[in-house]
């Protein structure tokens, strides 16, 4: 295309800028990327542009992030991952954590709350559904008499692009959907007849984040954000 080396160099610099800026598409982009991978002087031009544009990004006005970002980072980098987007149901760590039974303590904390809201009769079944480390995120009580489970949201998830879905996991370890719950406040769910016997003391209630309308597969597809065992109080 060009007649002089200078001209070529000029074109290369522009091409490197286009690549760094991210405006190229399709074949043009693939060709430029391939060249950056093999042609060191060209790669240096691209790196130079990246640096220049980095300055542009760095000119953004600073805004202090909330503390939870650092906490999440620490969890992600320095602890066992607890909120992986996939495979959590198969993760040994997750089940070990569930079995660890921190829920008992939390269940005691909510006893008062449930006792004052429930009519006398059979001992109430409750579950405190917790996330990785902090306090309970959901409280649930199962009313075996009327076949209902009522879930209270204590700490709404900030992910508003998904909906929380409640699951019960009994002895067979298979999650069964109890339906989508509200992001705030409380939700009463009528237990399907088939799930009434298994939604009992010892079973686990869990909440996963699912696409609007609930899991499309009938199994949890998103991250499990909280779980806890049902127990009598």
């Amino acid at each position: 295309m060009s007649d002089t080396p200078d001209r070529d160099h000029e074109d290369d610099r522009t091409l490197a800028g286009e690549l760094a800026l991210g405006v190229l598409e399709g074949e043009e982009r693939r060709a430029a990327e391939a060249r950056a991978a093999t042609d060191a002087p060209f790669a240096a031009l691209v790196a130079d542009w990246h640096a220049r544009f980095g300055d542009l990004a760095a000119a953004a006005a600073p805004v202090a992030p909330p503390v939870r970002v650092w906490q999440a980072l620490e969890d992600t980098l320095f602890d066992e991952p607890r909120r992986e987007a996939s495979g959590l149901w198969n993760s040994l760590g997750f089940w070990r954590w569930l079995a660890g039974g921190t829920a008992a303590l939390a269940a005691a904390c909510i006893a008062l709350l449930v006792v004052v809201t429930l009519p006398r009769g059979e001992p109430p079944l409750v579950a405190a559904l917790q996330s990785g480390g902090a306090g309970p995120v959901f409280l649930a009580h199962v009313d075996a008499g009327s076949g209902k489970v009522v879930v209270h949201v204590l700490e709404p998830d900030r992910d508003t692009s998904h909906v929380p879905e409640l699951w019960v996991i009994a002895g067979d370890g298979v999650p069964h959907s109890l339906g989508v719950i509200n992001r705030h406040g409380e939700t009463a769910i009528a237990l399907p007849a088939a799930l009434r016997p298994v939604t009992a003391a010892g079973a686990t209630l869990a909440v996963s984040l699912e696409p609007a309308g609930g899991s499309p597969t009938g199994k949890p597809t998103g991250p499990v954000i909280a779980a806890g065992k049902i127990s009598k109080i």
């Binding site: 522009t14 286009e18 405006v23 760095a58 805004v63 650092w70």
Partner: protein, 180 residues
């Protein structure tokens, strides 16, 4: 104490898996990087996620910094920008519609925000300002909106060839100006 330590030196220690250095680095730079994420992702929750991802990358890739030609903050800001743009593009792929484009346009940087932090390195800004306004806007839009030529042309209501020549001329001018 360590508070006077340079960002470069903190990054070098992070490359050696020094958690304390990482925490200091976070304290010193997270507000700046969060500003970058917020500028690109109008939704705060998403900006928080992008910030977290950016610092995961910084923790893992700090060793690559010495090879970069950028200032340490620019290198980190570029990582935050890239994470945010990835999210923006994924969102756009999910909902290919005008609303998203409009939302992004609203989230664009204000001139005031830009003026605020240009203290240390203002060269690229000065040079952008010297471009024809349309060319400079297209370059900013590409960088902070993650738009390709085609998307930029569509948004600007100009033919693809026109958009390409705007940006190419803009880049060439920037180059000249930066080397002056």
């Amino acid at each position: 104490m360590t508070s006077a330590e340079s960002i470069e030196s903190l990054l070098a220690r992070v490359a050696l898996r020094d958690r304390g250095a990482f925490e200091l680095l976070y304290q010193r730079t997270s507000a700046k990087l969060f500003g970058v994420c917020l500028r690109i992702l109008s939704e705060r929750a998403e900006a928080e996620e992008a910030l977290q991802e950016a610092f995961v990358k910084i923790w893992r890739n700090a060793g690559q910094y010495s090879q970069a030609r950028a200032g340490a903050i620019a290198w980190m800001a570029a990582i935050a920008r890239n994470q945010s743009i990835d999210r923006l593009r994924a969102r756009r792929r999910g909902a290919e519609d005008i609303d998203v484009a409009a939302e992004v346009a609203d989230g664009r940087p204000t001139p005031e925000a830009e003026a605020v932090a240009a203290a240390d390195r203002r060269l690229l800004h000065d040079c952008l300002d010297a471009l024809e306004p349309g060319h400079a806007a297209a370059i900013r839009d590409a960088y902070f909106g993650g738009y390709t030529y085609e998307a930029l042309a569509r948004r600007g209501g100009v033919p693809l060839g026109t958009m390409k020549s705007w940006i190419r001329r803009g880049l060439a001018k920037l180059r000249e100006c930066l080397e002056r």
